[in-house]
């Protein structure tokens, strides 16, 4: 795979996308909760509950690119991240890594599967409390025969050094570290298998502001030195804005807008993106009096028909109730999924 990429590069061909998603869908069934079980016990017909967490997403991440993903909680960001990382298989559609189908890591452990790694919000939960740091970092590289057992300690020292931790961390356990240090350990572990793509799912959300900045800097440094691609997921737009080359905005399982970062922020097109940006608290602008987003996020179990944003949309047209817009490019290269906008373009 590495050979193929460098070969294409020598021939002056465009590099393949690191990640390509084609019409990817993933749903979850809801296990009946107490209220459902009571209703069923009293003779109601069990309602079939399926939730479309990711509903037909097309997306690419170029080599060396940081793609940011934002949206309200429950919109499907983590599910999309897990699909990209191969730790959750799609119901339909394709996830390609360097042009090849992504390994389904839930079934097979292959070396190509190592090419995409994931970092989670809660570093404490991601680490085994009984595993020493040296073992946490070298477990996968040894299992996949990337390194010899005899090299493990030297390898781990280097891996820790890359994330700013000292050799004396090797024989310690996760609880002996602060939250920021634990996230560094998770990053070192993810990078230990030389991935090309790292899915970062809210990687700084559980950290304090002053530590958050240290970890964001680490992500920026590693991207430069290792030419990594990131899918960088966060509900915090100021964080995503800072690290991303492009930003995708997600709403109820679908991408509603996708554009270069500067372009998206200077010229948000989708009414949802506009509302979202308007609500981000900043130091330089007081809270506007006007609230741009009506109502609450609809239940994902019964999403609105047509455009899923139409019940909250200030510019919704009659047509939006029945017809689902597609994510289409505008002349500016900005992609947006909105019938009202494409009508004008």
């Amino acid at each position: 795979m590495a050979f193929a990429a460098s070969f294409r590069y020598m021939l002056g061909l465009p590099l393949p996308n690191a990640i390509e998603l084609i019409s990817v869908r993933r749903s979850f069934g809801r296990t009946p909760d107490l209220a459902d079980r009571v209703a069923i016990a009293f003779g109601s017909k069990p309602t079939a509950h399926v939730l479309q967490a990711v509903d037909g997403v097309d997306l690419t991440i170029e080599q060396g690119e940081v793609l940011g993903l934002v949206g309200e909680s429950g919109c499907g960001k983590s599910t999309l991240g897990r699909l990209v990382a191969g730790i959750l298989p799609p119901d339909s559609g394709d996830v390609l890594f360097n042009g090849e189908p992504m390994a389904d890591k839930t079934k097979e452990k292959t070396r190509t599967g190592l090419g995409v790694q994931m970092i989670f919000q809660d570093p404490a939960a991601a680490l085994d409390p009984r595993q020493r740091i040296v073992d946490a970092i070298t477990e996968a590289p040894i299992a996949h025969e990337l390194i010899q057992r005899s090299e493990a300690r030297a390898f781990a020292v280097e891996a820790l050094d890359r994330v700013g931790l000292q050799e004396d961390s090797l024989d310690r356990y996760p609880h002996q570290f602060s939250g920021g240090q634990r996230q560094r350990i998770c990053i070192a572990r993810a990078l230990a298998v030389n991935p090309g793509v790292v899915v970062c799912d809210e990687p700084v959300a559980s950290l304090d502001v002053s530590v958050q900045a240290q970890i964001i800097n680490l992500f920026l440094d590693l991207r430069d030195s290792l030419n990594l691609s990131y899918l960088f997921i966060s509900h915090d737009i100021s964080v995503v804005e800072h690290v991303s080359d492009r930003i995708a905005v997600m709403y109820l399982g679908r991408i509603v807008e996708l554009a270069a970062t500067a372009d998206l922020l200077a010229n948000p097109m989708h009414p949802y993106t506009r509302a979202l940006l308007n609500e981000v608290p900043t130091l330089d602008r007081p809270l506007s009096e006007e609230h741009m987003l009506a109502g609450e996020l609809p239940s994902p179990f019964s999403p609105p028909s047509g455009c899923r944003f139409h019940p909250r949309c200030p510019i919704a047209m009659e047509e939006c109730r029945s017809r689902a817009p597609r994510l289409l490019p505008l002349s500016s290269g900005h992609h947006v999924s909105c019938l009202a906008i494409h009508e004008e373009d």
């Binding site: 309200e72 602060s178 530590v211 509900h235 804005e241 608290p281 809270l287």
Partner: protein
């Protein structure tokens, strides 16, 4: 508008006894809040914000204890109040809103029932009259179909809706002071901004004073007239919001602001504060921020006194920033 004092805190110290010895979660805090004031308290996790809020509410539980200082509420010293005395104040003249609304709601009781009981605990009023008050309170916090929500159980509402209900309950008895402890931290920005707007309006209308606690300076800046920055149990800087944001004087405040992604050019490394919070059980002798501070010298090995950069803008630092600038502006 002249603002008269409502809450006055002097030298407040709240300690927890732990296996490693006593630990001061709140370590000498002074605060003054007037009627109608909105004070924001910012600090990173573990800085003592929640314990400060609980101390003001008389809710510190063992192994914690207020060990020093004085809290006066509307002229009455409440520091030595009995639990019975507290129950007359709490939920009535002082209300607290917590980050997790489920802790404040009874899961097996309908919302409406809980709200009516909250009123009747403090007022002799018929259930019919209470129901009217409850409906109005729901509408005031932006809940449009109150009857439907009042009939619901807490788990049937979204997180944002639950937090609105808790706010409606806090406002029921028109308290003089509301302490809101990170009420929007678990919510999306879209819901957060709505709640911030509602709280701002409600406090304006009712004249209630508000203490808004958050780890996010951006959120506090949206709502507070004054900001107090907390670090390791102490308030290290305090001032009018605009003034404090324009000229942060404590190196920690300046560092917090600088480390916000919006304050660095896109894609560039952020300014970060080296190191992490000190352990409360093993605090530095003098200024608790000194081990992380680039300006620190031996002079910082004694706890710094509060000094004033300008009227109302106080800082606990031997080498505050912007002092020259502030003085020049005043002259």
């Amino acid at each position: 508008m002249t603002r008269t004092g409502l809450l006055s805190i002097q030298g407040l110290r709240t300690e927890f006894s732990t296996p490693d010895g006593p630990l001061a979660a709140v370590n000498g805090v002074d605060l003054e809040i007037a009627r109608g004031d909105v004070l924001g308290i910012v600090g990173e996790s573990g800085s003592g914000k929640t314990v400060l809020g609980l101390s003001i509410m008389g809710l510190v539980d063992r192994p914690g204890r207020v060990t020093a200082g004085r809290i006066a509420f509307d002229g009455t010293d409440v520091t030595a109040f009995s639990e019975a005395q507290w129950q007359g104040l709490r939920g009535n003249r002082i209300a607290m809103i917590f980050q997790d609304p489920t802790t404040s709601l009874n899961p097996v009781q309908r919302i409406g029932t809980q709200m009516i009981e909250a009123i009747q605990a403090h007022r002799d009023i018929s259930s019919g009259a209470a129901w009217q008050i409850v409906r109005e309170a729901m509408v005031r916090v932006g809940i449009n179909s109150p009857d439907e929500r009042l009939a619901a159980y807490p788990h049937q509402l979204s997180g944002g809706m639950r937090q609105r209900v808790v706010i409606a309950i806090a406002l029921l008895n028109e308290p003089d002071l509301i302490i809101a402890d990170e009420p929007t931290t678990a919510l999306d920005v879209t819901v957060q901004s709505q709640i911030l707007r509602d709280m701002r309006r409600l406090c304006r209308d009712s004249g209630s004073a508000l203490i808004w606690i958050s780890h996010d300076l951006g959120v506090v800046a949206q709502i507070a007239h004054r900001v107090a920055v907390m670090y390791a149990g102490r308030i290290v800087e305090q001032g009018a919001t605009m003034e404090l944001l324009k000229s942060p004087s404590h190196p920690y405040t300046a560092g917090l602001m600088a480390s916000m992604p919006a304050n660095s050019p896109r894609g560039q490394r952020l300014v970060s504060i080296p190191g992490g919070l000190p352990q409360l059980s093993n605090m530095p002798k003098g200024c608790s921020f000194a081990p992380r501070c680039t300006r620190a010298t031996e002079a910082c090995e004694v706890p710094p006194d509060l000094s004033f950069i300008s009227p109302g803008h106080g800082v606990r630092c031997v080498f505050p920033l912007h002092v020259g600038a502030a003085l020049a502006e005043r002259n």
